[in-house]
Assembly symmetry: C2
Homo-oligomer: 347 residues x 2
């Protein structure tokens, strides 16, 4: 970065799965931090966490926590963001919010930097980080939209349990071991914490992520549908989603069907995606090269493969998109937004 | 069954994952067996297997094995069917073949009894059992096609490892334990035995089932596409498939998008599927009722849920279809074909 100024940064929800990844990403990117503040609920306050060579004590997040904070990265759940994001803004911080609290607010930019970085400029204090499953999809769709026009998207997801938090990861581990040992699985959390019914996630597939809406879609599915239109600036885009939770820990995969305005070739699509920022093409069926969740885990890119022409519809194409849901799907994208705020002097 | 005649039955591939399920199904349905012959490769010959109260010794399958056999149920792989199915027919047996060897042969009926039972009548000695992922899908699509007309199908699958045989089940068990123990996964089999590259299946998703074709689709995907058109008697049907192997043991799940001729309502679709033979509707989002692979395992039905209207396309609908890949997807359907041969005197 050309700017050598340093910034006071707060991470809200520092002890959570995404919060930890945000700290790792800030460290990895050598983010220009002057003072770092780690915040959480009262329950996790007092936890000690390491950042670079220093030990920090996590503090309870209150409105006063944001005095002198330049950038606040929120990932402590929607209710915390609703309670504290505007307080942080009042204190002068710019908030990058990784919850669904403000994503569809017309006053709040919803941003994947490779896709719609300019939207950050219009912020009024809060910038929303999209849902994990949306981010990786739009990163791959944007170059297609730009070159060929995009008419229609139908996606079926294959989502990792870490998207449901650290407890869900523990549940999958415990249940997997119980299943292998021939013991009872005792589902207590998945598919949705707080819902009435729980189903085993180990060696199973659950077609429910988040709660059902009145139209029969889950909230996760509606997030993908609405956020995709907002980020791609195209309300008229036809988007359909089916979201499924699966028994793996990291990375979401997506089977995506698209219809473009101008029929093209697989070669041209591969070229577009190969050249796209933040996208890595892994598409060589002759050599069994395609993305998988296990291979994408820990990497910041969006991986795309299995690109093929629909056999009946001449402007229809199929893609397989995989990315680490905690990195590009959450922490990495949030920190990219913060970097853009600095680089473009949009703070 | 009204007919009290008894039949000589041979099961080829008796020791395999599907062969064992065929024996369980014959026993469960109290199939009218006079003499039962268990056949296999030379490698498994000599194995002792129990059927009802008797112990049988598995014999090596040769052309002579089919003397006096009325019905031969083949599930020992395509090469065995190619080598022996016609030999069995020459000896007077009717073959129900659970491999892909003859499925697309225009002389061979490809049958899901609830969908196209009448096709059995035209057999010339061999009737093919469709691919597991095809069977469950067409069972749910048929009542929709009959009442509303069917124009288009786009499916993304979530397939269990047992579809790749008993060795794949062992690999998933072993790798899952290794992963939980923090040990190396050593992939040796999945996604396809005999292919050059192997990827871990534990806690992963592999977008390859069977080998790649020149058009970039896998053979599994092309099976779904071509078999669906043949069974539904509609070459002009638009069908697209993406097939994915997942880390669970039993039952395939499918996220299916359909376009019908006549726009309808979710209620009407639920009614059609509720009334369909072999289909069980599990569709009550308010009470978190939907099918899952673990719940469908061991049951012969095809389970359908998550039925909803596309939000943009007025004749478009989404469904989630789950069935035990070894039962309705293989053994159960094969034995149903055999029952139909007897019941209708089509032997």
């Amino acid at each position: 970065m050309s700017n050598s100024k340093m910034y006071n940064v707060a991470v809200v929800g520092a002890t959570g799965a995404v919060g930890q990844k945000i700290l790792e990403t800030l460290e990895k990117k050598d983010f220009p931090i002057d003072q770092l503040k780690l915040l959480s609920s009262s329950r996790s306050a007092g936890t000690k966490m390491k950042f670079k060579e220093a030990i920090y004590t996590v503090e309870e997040a209150t409105p006063e926590s944001f005095e002198n904070v330049d950038i606040a990265l929120f990932s402590a759940g929607g209710s915390v963001s609703k309670a504290l994001a505007n307080e942080a803004v009042k204190k002068g911080a710019v908030v990058v919010d990784n919850t669904s609290a403000y994503r569809m607010d017309p006053e709040v930019p919803l941003v994947v930097p490779e896709v719609n970085e300019e939207d950050i400029k219009k912020h009024k204090g809060i910038i929303a980080n999209p849902n994990c499953s949306t981010i990786q999809m739009v990163a791959a769709l944007k170059p297609i939209q730009d070159q060929l026009g995009l008419e229609r998207v139908i996606v079926s997801t294959y989502q990792a349990v870490s998207g449901a938090g650290a407890e869900a990861v523990e549940e999958l581990k415990d249940q997997s071991q119980a299943f292998l040992d021939g013991e009872d699985l005792n589902p207590e959390l998945m598919p949705v914490k707080g819902e009435e019914h729980h189903y085993p996630i180990a060696f199973n597939a659950l077609p429910q992520i988040d709660v059902f809406q009145e139209n029969g879609y889950t909230f996760e599915e509606m997030k993908m549908i609405n956020e995709t239109k907002k980020i791609l600036h195209k309300d008229a885009l036809n988007v359909a989603a089916t979201c499924v939770r699966l028994p793996f820990f990291t990375s979401h995969a997506e089977s995506v069907y698209v219809e473009v305005n101008e029929p093209t070739s697989v070669k041209i699509l591969q070229g577009l995606l190969n050249d796209a920022d933040g996208v890595t093409l892994q598409d060589d069926p002759d050599n069994q090269v395609y993305p998988t969740p296990l291979d994408a885990a820990g990497k910041p890119d969006v991986f795309v493969g299995r690109i093929r022409q629909d056999l009946d519809v001449k402007n229809g194409y199929h893609l397989w998109i995989v990315s680490d849901n905690l990195l590009k799907g959450a922490a990495w994208n949030s920190v990219q937004i913060a970097e853009s705020l600095i680089k473009n002097e949009w703070l």
